[in-house]
Symmetry: C2
Subunit: 282 residues, 2 copies
């Protein structure tokens, strides 16, 4: 009976993944060609021989091709009677051992109260979007950067204009224009508070060894308590359109005011490859 | 006849590759499970419809798992009568088009005289070896750095001792101890001149976003006109042994003086994953 088995232990885990070969972070049916990161996490957790199946409650959903430096989840582990709860370190080692061939890695694990919820207790999420400038063609993307950035076509970007546009997005707004429609749209409030939006030059992988080739990496950083479905990729797409002179900075303000997802052309969404969930703050 | 077809045009090309899924840069028999980078280069070149098969003469041989920011090769292209020779740009685009799915990329191509030889005309080669410190276990390697560095086991490295040891390797020596034996060993002079050996801290991929995790990247840079078989990996292995206190800096000098490949234990060779051919200078 449940009482004899002891209460399950709840853990908060942080984990990292290279998103290219997953359908996204969320679990998919196991007969799909591309599985979710969650499928692998739960399969690894089952190998720790819990006395009840383990479910990961993911903090932040990410799409196929999106990466995470650190996503978060909570899970409950019920062990057989008489067995002590895993320590955080044991859980990290055990999960990583079974995740071994996958580009998914548990960074840390800690016990949390049974009232803790990885999704609802998060105070904020920070995303990084990586842009590569100076490529006339996608074949110029360094092989070590493939699937890890977006090289928008068509010459340099007007960064000052992008920064000016970014100011309109900062703060609390109805972001309806900047979300993609999904089955959840009708039930979700479109108001979000963007706490941070910065556009900064950044290094690429080994780029200090090929600086002369005219490639430039830039990072766009977004912080908010929560984001709408594909909001970051759509905001990046709109900012890049500003950088390319296709939109005036002021038009970002107008797009916000329209409050209609159909106002942003679908091709204006930035690809998944450049997006990284940097961290979830509690 | 050959004269009517015009002389073949010779090109020097620089190319980049992610070495993990290749048997090395050199061509292998096409029935092998893992092919060489050269197999893919030549297959792509054949799609440009030359009137004679194209052979890449590679500047610098690299092992399976070794990467290149820029390796070099020369090749001759004989086109059908009446067809103009490819421009460098056309060759880059044509080859990259056919290499598309592979993590191999042509960086540049230029016409060179028919006396030019990519291997023998090179003035020097520069290699970078990437070390990751601060990992207690290989599962702590960031997923984005897998196959792209070496995280030697066992705590921090004594960098000043490694730098002291490096001084013994600089300059002209008989490097017999620091080569691996191969069928070519008896025919190759073991004297080489190491022009540069530097050990410097360096950034990792997105490491500015997780600096707090105690991971440190270091790069060891080697420059010489030419290297012996596996010389860089064996020198790195010996330097890391010094950093770990297993060898005294002065013992590097003694190892050189022994002039015997068997003097360095085989497990002292650094793995291929951390090694990058940075460039070939002409």
């Amino acid at each position: 009976c449940r009482a004899m088995a002891g209460a399950p232990a709840r853990y908060l885990v942080f984990f990292q993944y290279f998103g290219t070969r997953y359908s996204g972070v969320t679990e998919t049916r196991s007969d799909q060609a591309l599985l979710g990161v969650q499928n692998y996490l739960e399969k690894a957790a089952q190998k720790l021989r819990p006395s009840a199946p383990i479910k990961f409650h993911i903090s932040s959903r990410t799409d196929s091709g999106v990466h995470a430096l650190a996503n978060a989840a909570h899970l409950d582990i019920q062990r057989a009677p008489g067995k002590a709860a895993f320590s955080g370190q044991q859980l990290v080692q055990g999960l990583n051992y079974h995740l071994k061939p996958e580009p998914i890695r548990i960074l840390s694990a800690q016990r949390v109260p049974s009232t803790f919820h990885a999704r609802f207790c998060a105070l904020s999420r920070t995303y990084i979007y990586r842009l590569l400038l100076g490529c006339a063609h996608f074949s110029q993307i360094p092989v070590f950067e493939r699937d890890l950035c977006w090289a928008p076509a068509g010459g340099p970007l007007d960064i000052p204009a992008m920064r000016e546009a970014a100011k309109f997005l900062l703060g609390t707004h109805d972001f309806s224009t900047f979300r993609s429609l999904s089955s959840e749209t009708p039930f979700q409030c479109p108001v979000r508070t963007l706490l941070q939006l910065e556009i900064q030059p950044a290094p690429g992988f080994l780029s200090h060894h090929y600086g002369h080739r005219g490639l430039e990496f830039w990072e766009v950083k977004f912080k908010s308590r929560a984001f709408l479905y594909r909001q970051v990729r759509r905001m990046v797409g709109a900012l890049v359109a500003v950088g390319q002179g296709k939109l005036a900075p002021r038009e970002i303000q107008e797009l916000l005011e329209v409050k209609d997802a159909r106002a942003l052309p679908p091709h204006a969404m930035a690809p998944a490859s450049g997006l990284f969930l940097k961290c979830v703050e509690y």
